[in-house]
């Protein structure tokens, strides 16, 4: 039961059941399950996500619809919406985030216990949407880590359910007892950390597409984070 080996086991824990079999020379008796602790823990986590609804706009209405009986997020084990971040492990940011609200958002994110995930729901939370003004943050992923993005204005409830499923897959793939995330996430975090200590306008691009905002090319040409965007 090696910690960190869950990536090889490819989810769908607890695994083989039934006939006794021989695994690498060790006889496994009947009615015995072989898996990794990582895999079991991830399996437990992914079916008991407790969302923290950070609903600031009309996306929040769709989020309520997902929680209600017609779409019923309880089918995926994520129905326990808690309004205290201390009890949650999934933040769903639904709606635009004003620059006055962002310190609140960051504080709530910091208050959530590990392990935690974040869904950026809708065009406004992901990119600022049509609100390209001084007061609205252009994508929350500039300031907090995001696991799954949902497009739409607002997204259909089915899309939110899909994002829960995607996140469950991600949790199953990436979670370990020792708290390491997905390899691509770690890579991205490292890049963000490098960029943070650069003076405004001097951020380094790791790969093609990073020059602007991590894959999203601004129509007005490459942007420089943190400097005057008044062009």
């Amino acid at each position: 039961m090696a910690i960190g080996s869950s990536r090889e086991s490819h989810g769908h824990a607890p695994g083989r059941m039934g006939q006794g079999s021989v695994t690498s020379g060790v006889e496994v008796p009947e009615n015995t399950i072989l898996t990794t602790i990582d895999s079991v823990v991830s399996w437990c986590r992914k079916f008991s996500l407790w969302p923290m609804p950070f609903a600031t706009a009309c996306c929040g209405i769709e989020l309520m619809a997902v929680g209600a009986s017609r779409f019923d997020i309880a089918r995926f084990g994520a129905e326990v919406m808690r309004f205290s971040p201390r009890q949650c492990d999934l933040m769903i940011v639904a709606g635009r985030v004003a620059m006055k609200m962002l310190p609140v958002l960051q504080r709530i994110w910091l208050q959530m216990p590990e392990p935690k995930w974040c869904i950026s729901m809708g065009a406004c939370a992901s990119t600022g949407g049509v609100f390209d003004t001084y007061a609205v943050v252009q994508g929350i992923d500039r300031f907090i880590p995001v696991d799954v993005y949902i497009p739409g204005c607002p997204p259909r409830p089915e899309q939110i359910l899909r994002s829960i499923l995607d996140l469950q897959a991600k949790v199953q793939r990436g979670g370990t007892l020792s708290g390491l995330g997905l390899p691509e996430l770690i890579e991205r975090e490292r890049m963000l950390e490098e960029k943070r200590n650069q003076p405004p306008g001097f951020a380094l691009a790791r790969e093609r597409g990073d020059e602007d905002r991590f894959g999203y090319r601004l129509p007005g040409g490459p942007g420089t984070l943190g400097v005057d965007e008044s062009r």
Binding site: K100, Y134, A135, I144, P145, E189, P200, G226, E229
Partner: protein
Amino acid sequence: MSTATNQATDPHAATLATLARVFGDGVFGMSHFRDNLRLFLPPSRLIEVLTVLRDECRFALLAELGATDYLGYPGWTRARFEVHYVLLNLDTAERLVIKTGVDDPKPELPSAVPLWLGADWMEREVFDMYGITFTGHPDLRRILMPDEFTAFPLRKDYPLRGRGERHNFPRLTREES
């Protein structure tokens, strides 16, 4: 005071008669737009005219207080900022718009809070968005933008996308959060 027939044709006749009786001519300019009557005042006469309107013409409610920045407006010759007061007479439902202009570099107006308490937050909003200070306001600070905001975002020389305020936050990474 005016006659009843006069009032039927012009709802502002009584108000204008009172103002003419108290102040005489030449204090305010006048213009009409549809059924609105707008009076233009110099800032120095603002409070006394508003006081007469409230006390003698019974405009008990300050329905709206706002401002406009006319920087770069085609053909504009008056002061850069214009502050408007929309008054409502609760007895006759008469509405009256009072306008006054203030100019750069230090736009300043007397506060209307002593007349209508409802002017409190509206003047704070005008201050927040345009930087027009209202002397005599009991608590003039920002109402919508965060306290550490330094610009006045509804001024025409402020860029729509701001001066980087919306990016001026620490980035939280997963490793440290």
